[in-house]
Subunit: 373 residues, 2 copies
């Protein structure tokens, strides 16, 4: 059985589309593309993510427009892999989140809610393929946060009978999923460690005019500044017991510039600053392992951080665990989310639940999504 997974993420760069072969419940990634959004579309989506600038007429139109983009992504993917609509058993489409208020606090009288757009009806009508969509609502209805939903796919695809695994994602923020050996669904848990690449990238850009510290080359050439590291370690979030989640906004430009000014970053070697911030990032992640996870046989790192060899090395040294990249473990970082929703769509069509309660906080196991036939 062939299936397609579609994910349009917060970066708004485009829609990720993966082609997957499913045999006896085993998933094999066959192909992957990112179909980019034109700048004008990206801009229109962007302004409809904000309560101040969103317009009902545009939101409703974008619900359909994005679906046409998703179909174009499917077309490119199928052409690349020499397949046709009729070869595909189902499409699992996450859609584009334009609003997420799982605590129901973002307007007066709100109840917990979330909104993904990209009409499944359009995808289904244009391709004739069955579509599973709208994955987050049911978890919210079951008192969950509607996120994260990826941990189920990690559990489903990668759990091990004899290894305790940490799936560590290092994006702007870092988050992990812990899957002990022989885990059941309810054993799995997931939380945000804290900072990810966001500070490293910010200061690398500021001092070296590069978008990120490639391979951790800068960090590996400097030394830690104790005063700065001690300051950073005052981040209380690190020490909070899970369940917990944080966001990019915690490590804002204001926060970083305030620190740079307070600690007079100007007086330091700029390489040392990158080394120190990388050290702090490794510490945040390593602390989680040492204090919140019982046994770890392997930490598998995905996301941008998995390309920072120095960061990976320091995490391993701090937490005294074996660390490898997702790529080494056979996980395609780019396709990870699109693949995850393919797994969730498959479960829905099998009438099986796929929310991890300990990850989302939901009170019940629920079958996620709507089916469009």
């Amino acid at each position: 059985m062939l299936a397609i997974g579609l994910m349009s993420g917060t970066s708004l760069d485009g829609v990720d589309a993966c082609l997957v072969d499913i045999k006896n419940g085993k998933f094999k990634l066959l192909d992957f593309i990112t179909y980019p959004y034109e700048a004008s579309l990206k801009e229109r989506i962007m302004r409809n993510l904000s309560n101040e600038t969103a317009k009902l007429a545009e939101v409703s139109s974008l619900n359909f427009e994005l679906a046409y983009e998703f179909v174009k992504a499917i077309d490119v993917l199928l052409k690349k892999s020499n397949r046709k609509y009729k070869d595909i058993s189902f499409v699992a489409s996450h859609g584009q989140t334009i609003w997420h208020d799982p605590d129901g606090v973002k307007c007066e009288n709100a109840v917990p809610n979330t909104l993904q757009i990209g009409s499944a009806s359009v995808i289904n009508q244009l391709t004739g393929i069955k579509v599973v969509s709208n994955f987050r609502c049911k978890d919210i209805a079951a008192s969950g946060q509607g996120a994260p939903l990826v941990p189920f796919s990690e559990y489903y695809l990668y759990r091990s009978k004899n290894k305790n695994l940490v799936f560590q994602n290092i994006g702007g923020i870092s988050n992990l999923t812990y899957i002990k050996k022989n885990a059941k669904m309810d054993d799995v848990f997931s939380f945000d460690n804290g900072v990810g690449n966001i500070m490293i990238d910010y200061f690398t850009n500021k001092y070296f005019n590069m978008p990120f510290d490639k391979d951790g080359a800068i960090a590996s050439s400097g030394k830690v500044i104790d005063e700065v590291l001690d300051y950073l370690k005052k981040d209380e979030y690190i020490y909070l017991p899970y369940p917990k989640s944080t966001g990019r906004e915690k490590y804002s430009k204001e926060f970083m510039e305030d620190m740079a000014s307070k600690l007079n970053f100007e007086k330091y070697d700029k390489k040392d600053i990158i080394t120190t911030i990388t050290e702090f990032t490794a510490f945040s992640i390593g602390y989680s392992y040492l204090n919140f996870l019982k046994d770890i046989d392997l930490a598998i790192i995905s996301g941008g951080g998995s390309h920072n060899k120095y960061l990976m090395k320091r995490i391993g040294e701090i937490a005294k665990v074996k660390v490898i990249s997702g790529d080494e473990y056979g996980i395609n970082s780019d396709a990870k989310e699109a693949l995850a929703f393919t797994v969730l769509g498959y479960m829905t069509l099998k009438k099986k639940p796929s929310n991890i309660k300990s990850a989302t906080g939901a009170k019940e196991d629920v079958i996620l999504g709507d089916i469009t036939i």
Copy 2:
């Protein structure tokens, strides 16, 4: 098999809920309620129907809030009819339309779109009942107007082997569905005749301080003013060939007051004005029958207009057809739309199309809606 249909209409008074018994594809209405919205909720929905005042945070929250109201309606309906969630095979939920732009003209770059809210995930999660929802999108994706969808249910429930039937609805606007004897789905068509009760109600309210002309009592006691009738008959819409549709906004307060002033309504007996406007309304409808429909054995009138006996009589006389009310034909006017969506939901679960192409303008027969299990 028992099923529930839910419809939240443009009046925003509340949600209509019907309980239906389905046996061998035959539908029997068992019970019906309208669960009213509180004034504050109605007000919040109202301001989120307008592109100027809608707020993304509220739209997303209302998507969930309305679903909780729908569940309350289900609870009341089931309590009244002494049934439980587990007795119900499916819920068909139209939801609340908050935006409808089937031509994609209401904002820059728009594509055809429509938006119904009232999360199926919430209904499903709280009741455990399978839900079919989101009926209009697929028809829009198939280049239709996403409306009207009720004609299919008229065809399915009421078509006759030996009678040519007109299903005439007289609300603010009047619209008909024509189903010739032994019709196939593609034979059915539907269009707006033109004005419905909107003018009768307006002037009855203005001159007699009553919301409508009960039983047509006022109209039946006056006489037609030729000058006014001739003026009204200049309404070009009446003579346009179908497919065609119109809206309440055509017969606006401004239009009516402009006419009253131009023709100096003050100089006439007010009863005669009501008689004349009723005559024009009957003419608009009768003209459709005489000029656009081939053979009619019976016209079955639903909606508020079906209570206006004088209007009914005049339609019959003008068009020379037998006219009866929906109630006499066994159609519960109040439950009609909720029942219609129950029929559509049933078809979806049977994997059968249920859009009438000649009514919506769609290019293909499509299976409507999403299924939440």
